[in-house]
Amino acid sequence: MARAQRLGTLLATIGGIWLLGLIGMLPLPETVQTHIWPVLPLLFVVSLGSYAFINIGYNLVAFRECPEAYHELMQEIQEAKDDLRAKNVDIS
């Protein structure tokens, strides 16, 4: 709950500053005021989405497979299957 409150406060502050800039109370250059400032929330959402994408993609690529652990696991599964089959448990 505290973390959500902190995030909410941060978002509210940034939103307030952005609104101030929107109504013209901040000293901004001409092009920034008309073209860039209003688009900032969209840029934020797009950046959030692409950050999530990059995070997932990077973790998929950098996931370290352990071949020895894989083979060991497969062998253990095979042994367990044989053991259970010997005890007349139906395993495909």
Binding site: T31, L42, S50, F53, G57, N59, L60, V61, F63
Partner: protein
């Protein structure tokens, strides 16, 4: 192999994410300062699309999410009504 497939998907997502981020950042932050007759203008559509495309996608996405939510809730409500009768 499941690993190669996963890595391909991961690399594709990485590429798409980076491309979308850099392209959109340049589109919104840099292009307003570029003159009309600069060569780089040909790579980017007019500013209007920089706003229209994300807004449209957001509208479609939010509609889809709420539609899915309402569909699931209606289905579970119908199931609960059926069970009580």
């Amino acid at each position: 192999m499941a690993q190669v497939n996963d890595k391909l998907i991961g690399a594709a997502m990485l590429g798409i994410g980076t491309f979308v981020f850099t392209y959109y950042s340049i589109w919104t932050l840099v292009m307003p300062f570029v003159d009309e007759d600069h060569a780089v203008r040909k790579l980017f559509p007019p500013q209007w699309f920089a706003i229209a495309i994300p807004v449209f996608l957001l509208a479609v996405g939010v509609t889809g999410i709420f539609g899915f939510l309402s569909f699931v809730m209606l289905k579970s409500g119908k199931k609960a009504a059926k069970k009580s009768t």
